[in-house]
Structure formats: structure tokens, C-alpha cells
């Protein structure tokens, strides 16, 4: 009987509340304002690259928590939905449709350059904005946004200019480097980075010669054949694009083969990533890389030296027990960019938010970001540096000898002839 009574009482309360809401509706404006703003995030949570999906999630959730404790976006809380894209185009597209069906307002994330090119073109059909926060191919912003006019695409992380043009600037004055070789990740990102790097370097240094190129697909377990094939050509510099866990094992294999005895420098794209640094710390500490390992990332936690960055790194580490990776910072900052745009537009309508994001300036942990209106690329500076280990500074390897070049100067510019 008690149960029945409970039920009745609850029903009565519900009915009263509903009735009240109906009566009050014309006065509360608008009733849905209390619905959360949903943001769909996706990244890789499988295999050697799994930490990136995790970092995207940590960045997104951390931003949502910060924003929600301060009252949300125009009074609405943020809710994060996350899916694994398994580094697979079909899965990523399915996830995007799932997000749409769940009624998300915006999307963020995506690790792979291959996937971003599959996802970008369907955004107008879904009527969703995605701020890409890791995938780096220049084709996303140059071709899809600028040339094809897909305005729903934005990128809050760096394009390959930073993996490929920046090292050319770092090494162009090093006359010891004459013979260069590539150990490439065999897909869009690896191909486009290498092409951009050697063409840029050769503009400054026509004497530089390409002595070897090898390509390794995703999920390669053993890079020793690639490494020894390159070492046979006696390169001065190796440009390497396999990332995440693959970078860790490739670098270990390079040390066992004695590759670092003979080269002058190794450029590791995305080597400044936290998971890679964690993986190679011990070998860095014991001098296995002979101070010849150079790297960058899309953001590095020990730069810039600002209060905002320090506060972010401190709070993030406390929240998750890890240092923030670039995919975390880029996703975090992308959500703040969406917040700023929604508040500027006073609306969550896709067309309004696109307008508000174009040209948006925002202070972020990585420094000032400006969303360039022509190609929707966020412009911000990220240094390159030499990998080092000092336990006074951090429990894991980090970058030193930082070389900062203003992104606005070296990024390719519209019309991308």
C-alpha cells in the first residue's frame, strides 16, 4: 500500500509541476535554455594510439567541468559525449551520425588526417560545426575550407606547417646537414609532411640531398628494416612521422641499431607528445639519443611561460594525474572557443556560430589563438625543441633549447597557390 501511495504522491507532484510549468511557460524565456549544450568528441581509443583518444576526452571533460562550475554557456551546462573512431573512416562517420541523432550542437576531436578528410565534407549535410583538435593535414583547411568553401570545418590545433615547415627553419642554418632521409607514416599525414619539409628545406638549401625514403603503415610492430635501410644511406638527418606508441618503439629500435651514432639530428614529428615523452624518458635519461633528438607537438606543456598556462597545467595534472598532451589542450581550448563564439553570437545556430568563430581571438593555455577567417585555421605559436630529461623540471622527458618562430610568418597563406 505504501508503494502505491508513494506512486500516487509522486504522480501528483509531477502533475502539479507540469501544470505549473505550462502556466509559467509564457513567462520563463525560453524553457529550453536549461537544456545542456551537447558536444560530441571523438578520437582514437584503440591500439598503439589509444592515449590520444583519452587525452581528447580528458581535455573536453576538463573544459566542460570548468565552464559548468562557472555557470555554463549562457546559463546552459555543457555535456560531453565521446566515441572511439578506431582510426577508421567508416566508424568516424557513423559516430558523427550518432552524435547528430543524439542532438549534439558541436563536435570536436579527430586524430587522424585521413579521417578528417572523410568527416569534413559531410559536416554541412549534418549541419554541425566540428573544431578539429589534432588531425593536421593542410588539405583540411586549404582545400576543404578555402577552396571548396566548407565553412563548418575549423581547426584549433596546428596544421602540418608546424611539423614540416618549422623543422626546415630550425635546420636550414645547420651546414652539417646535407643528406636527409624519411621514415614516414604511410598515409596522408606522413606523405604530406615529408613533401612539405623537403621542398621547404630545399628552398633555403639547394645543396641538401634526399638519400632515402621508407614508409611504414599504421600498426607496424618493427621498424628495424626501415631504420637499417635508411642507415645504409648514411643520412645526416632523419625525418620521422610515425607517432604515439609507434614513435616510442621506433626510437628504441633506432637506439639498438646505433642510428644515433652517425646521424647529426633526428626530427620527430609530434615527438613532444606526452605519451611519447613518457615512453622514451628512460632512454633520454641514459643519453641514448646523444642530444640529437628534436621534436615538436601541437602544444607543449612547458611553454609558454604564462600564468594562464601554468594554472592550466597544474589544475589538469591534479584532475587527471597526467600532464596535458596537446590533444588535451587543443580540445580544451576548442571548447572555450565554442563558448566564446556562442556568447558572441548569442545563439547556438550553426550559421551564427560559424560567423562568430571566424576571426575569433582567444587567450588559451597555448597562448593567443586567432581563427583565421579565410581558412578557419587557428594561428598560434608552438616551439620546437631538443628532447632532454631533468627530473628537477618534470618527471618525464621534455623539450629544451626551444625555437619559437611566429606561426603567422611561416604558415602558408591563402590563396594557397
Amino acid at each position: 500500500m505504501a508503494g502505491k501511495y508513494e506512486l500516487n504522491r509522486r504522480r501528483l507532484l509531477q502533475a502539479t509541476a507540469a501544470g505549473g510549468a505550462v502556466l509559467a511557460a509564457p513567462f520563463i524565456r525560453p524553457a529550453q535554455a536549461q537544456d545542456p549544450i551537447k558536444i560530441g568528441a571523438q578520437g582514437v581509443s584503440s591500439g598503439s594510439h589509444a592515449d590520444y583518444g583519452r587525452q581528447i576526452q580528458m581535455g573536453a571533460r576538463f573544459a566542460a567541468e570548468e565552464i559548468n562550475t562557472k555557470g555554463g554557456i549562457m546559463g546552459r551546462k555543457i555535456e560531453i559525449l565521446y566515441r572511439d573512431d578506431e582510426l577508421n573512416n567508416e566508424v568516424a562517420l557513423k559516430n558523427a551520425r550518432y552524435f547528430k541523432a543524439q542532438g549534439v550542437n558541436f563536435m570536436v576531436g579527430t586524430d587522424s588526417s585521413g579521417i578528417c578528410l572523410a568527416l569534413g565534407p559531410v559536416l554541412p549535410e549534418l549541419d554541425l560545426i566540428q573544431v578539429f583538435t589534432h588531425a593536421a593535414t593542410e588539405k583540411l583547411t586549404e582545400d576543404l575550407v578555402f577552396k571548396k568553401g566548407i565553412k563548418h570545418i575549423f581547426r584549433g590545433s596546428v596544421p602540418v606547417y608546424q611539423d614540416a615547415i618549422l623543422p626546415a627553419l630550425v635546420f636550414k642554418d645547420n651546414k652539417d646537414i646535407k643528406r636527409i632521409a624519411n621514415l614516414g607514416a604511410d598515409y596522408e599525414y606522413g606523405r604530406t609532411s615529408w613533401a612539405m619539409f623537403h621542398t621547404t628545406l630545399k628552398e633555403y638549401r639547394p645543396d641538401v640531398e634526399i638519400v632515402g625514403e621508407t614508409w611504414a603503415p599504421f600498426f607496424t610492430a618493427d621498424f628495424t628494416p626501415h631504420l637499417s635501410a635508411l642507415a645504409a644511406r648514411k643520412p645526416d638527418l632523419i625525418f620521422a612521422t610515425p607517432w604515439a606508441g609507434e614513435a616510442v618503439l621506433m626510437l628504441r629500435q633506432a637506439t639498438t641499431l646505433g642510428v644515433f651514432n652517425d646521424i647529426k639530428a633526428w626530427w620527430q614529428c609530434m615527438g613532444g607528445s606526452v605519451d611519447v615523452m613518457e615512453g622514451i624518458s628512460r632512454d633520454v635519461a641514459t643519453g641514448k639519443f646523444k642530444d640529437k633528438l628534436w621534436a615538436t607537438a601541437r602544444y607543449i606543456w612547458n611553454w609558454p611561460d604564462t600564468a594562464e598556462n601554468k594554472a592550466f597545467v597544474g589544475a589538469f595534472s591534479e584532475r587527471w594525474g597526467r600532464l596535458p598532451n596537446y590533444s588535451a589542450e587543443c580540445t580544451y581550448s576548442a571548447i572555450f572557443a565554442l563558448k566564446a563564439a556562442v556568447e558572441k553570437a548569442g545563439s547556438v545556430r550553426t550559421a551564427d556560430v560559424i560567423k562568430a568563430l571566424e576571426g575569433l581571438e582567444l587567450s588559451t593555455p597555448a597562448g593567443k589563438r586567432v581563427y583565421r577567417p579565410e581558412d578557419h585555421q587557428a594561428i598560434y605559436n608552438v616551439p620546437a625543441g631538443r628532447v632532454t630529461y631533468n627530473k628537477e623540471v618534470a618527471p618525464i622527458a621534455h623539450l629544451t633549447d626551444l625555437k619559437v618562430f611566429p606561426a603567422a610568418d611561416y604558415y602558408r597563406k591563402p590563396p594557397f597557390a
Binding site: 598503439s48 610492430a221 628494416p225 635501410a229 642507415a231 639498438t256 646505433g258 628512460r282
Partner: protein, 288 residues
């Protein structure tokens, strides 16, 4: 390309082949005796690697002991898989085995993520292997020489075990005629458990052998299994010497492919497999 570079690259290829050989030996033995196509064989490789990492780095054990314990751990998991799962579906269509073992792939990958996390784990190189020796004027890793030696020693032991012992005789007899062997008093169910866990042990050993140079991640099982299938198909399913030859072919081809045809190296293993399937469908050493 100079002769020296070819020699060096060949040695790299042979060391690559040894991991493949240990893996393929297990897969092909399990198929030959039990008729099981074990998709989770690569996952046992992964578990072997994680076990070795845990014993060696987390529990600070001696490198050799951690190899032994990792192999035994693989054998234990293999015997559980056979005794409590595979045993119940031998009479069903092959598709059920594939589904079941594929289920194990997913379970093991997620279990690895839960226990060891998604971050790649790589222990420091054991000190005795932490150096190089000059071969054709270039530094060659001592560890790769050890892997080559280990692979060859394992082949000899395997051959002695299967060809020269009475247990090996029983295994071979059951492989060629299961019912007759049963009628002659061989305890077939128990033999199956032992053989399957032996096969699992070989996979785990291969993974354990890789820990200092090949980081372990939850996805590594699926990355290695493709190559292993190619090797067993080329060698002939169930054919042990065939698997050895095929592992050498694929290892060498991977090494020389990268050196000589860097844009076509991936496609070459598939090409060889296709040619073998067309002209010698029972494998290189499998007869017609």
C-alpha cells in the same frame, strides 16, 4: 645497393623472421593437431609481452626468468581457452571457432587496457644486450643476434621434441588420424589441452622476446596476426618446416622490400601469398 648493405639487411630480415617463426609454429601446430584456426594467437603474443614486462620491470625479476614465466603464463591462458571454451565447439562449423577466438581477441585487448593501460610499455634493454657488434662495418644490435640464436635453438628443440620423443610421436599420430590414435589409447581431450597450451606458450614466448624492442600495446595482437597468417598459409597450414621457410621468406622480404622497393614493400607479402595459393594451395612444402 652495395653487397654490405644487402648482408646487413638480410640479418635484420632473419631476426624479424624469428618472431614470426615462433608465432607461426604455435599457430600451425594448433591447427595441425586440433584443427583450430586461432585468431587470438596474436593476442597471446601480446599477453606474453605484457607478462614479461610485468615480471621484468614491475617485479624486477631476472630477464631470463621473466621470459620463462611469461611463456608459462601464456601456456596457462592457452589451457584455459582450450579446456573451458574451444572444447565445446569442435563439432560445430569452423565459423564458430573463428567467432570464438575473435571474441578472445577483443576480450584480451580490453583486459590489457584495463590491467596495463593504453600507453605503450617498453622496459629498458637488459644490460647484457645493450650494445652493438660491427657487421660489414656497421653497428648491429646484439639483441637481434640473440633473437636469431633463440629462434634457431627453439627450432632444434621443437624438432627434437616432435620427432624424437614418444610424446612427439603421439602428437603426430593424433594429427594424422585423431580417431585411430584415440582408439589406440591416446587420451585425446587431454592431449588437445596440452598441445593448445604449448602453442599458446610459443606465442607468448615470441611476445616476451619482443618486449625490450617492440613496445607492448593493447592493439599489438591484431597487428602481428596478419603476418602470421600469411606465413602459415605460405608454409602450408599445419606444416611446421613449411612455417619456418615461410617465416624466413616473409622476414627477408620485409627487410629487402623496404630497402629495394620502398613503395611496394607492403604489397609483396600478399603477392607471394596469392601466388602460393594459386600454384601450391597446400603451401610451399605441402605437396600438391
Amino acid at each position: 645497393m652495395s653487397f654490405d648493405a644487402l648482408v646487413y639487411q638480410g640479418l635484420i630480415g632473419v631476426s624479424l623472421a624469428m618472431y614470426l617463426w615462433l608465432l607461426a609454429a604455435g599457430l600451425t601446430i594448433a591447427f595441425g593437431v586440433l584443427g583450430v584456426v586461432n585468431f587470438a594467437h596474436g593476442s597471446l603474443y601480446m599477453l606474453g609481452g605484457y607478462f614479461a614486462f610485468t615480471f621484468y620491470l614491475t617485479l624486477q625479476m631476472n630477464f631470463w626468468l621473466s621470459l620463462v614465466f611469461a611463456a608459462l603464463g601464456g601456456a596457462a591462458i592457452g589451457s584455459i581457452m582450450e579446456r573451458f571454451f574451444l572444447r565445446y565447439i569442435y563439432h560445430l562449423d569452423l565459423a564458430y571457432q573463428i567467432l570464438l577466438t575473435f571474441g578472445f581477441v577483443l576480450v584480451f585487448a580490453d583486459a590489457a587496457r584495463i590491467f596495463w593501460g593504453g600507453i605503450p610499455l617498453i622496459p629498458p634493454m637488459p644490460e647484457i644486450f645493450d650494445s652493438t657488434v660491427p657487421i660489414v662495418g656497421r653497428p648491429f644490435p646484439v639483441y637481434n643476434l640473440f633473437v636469431i640464436f633463440f629462434g634457431i635453438a627453439a627450432s632444434v628443440l621443437l624438432w627434437l621434441l616432435l620427432d624424437k620423443t614418444s610424446w612427439g610421436e603421439t602428437v603426430r599420430a593424433s594429427a594424422s588420424d585423431r580417431e585411430m590414435a584415440g582408439a589406440l589409447g591416446v587420451n585425446i581431450p587431454r592431449l588437445f589441452t596440452v598441445v593448445f597450451s604449448f602453442a599458446a606458450m610459443l606465442a607468448a614466448l615470441s611476445g616476451a622476446l619482443g618486449t625490450p624492442v617492440r613496445a607492448m600495446t593493447p592493439g599489438i595482437g591484431t597487428s602481428v596476426i596478419i603476418d602470421v597468417f600469411i606465413v602459415t598459409v605460405i608454409g602450408g597450414l599445419g606444416n611446421l618446416p613449411g612455417a619456418f621457410v615461410a617465416a624466413l621468406i616473409i622476414g627477408l622480404m620485409k627487410a629487402y622490400g623496404v630497402l629495394l622497393f620502398p613503395d611496394a614493400d607492403l604489397f609483396m607479402s600478399y603477392l607471394i601469398m596469392a601466388l602460393v595459393l594459386l600454384f601450391r594451395p597446400k603451401g610451399l612444402l605441402g605437396g600438391r
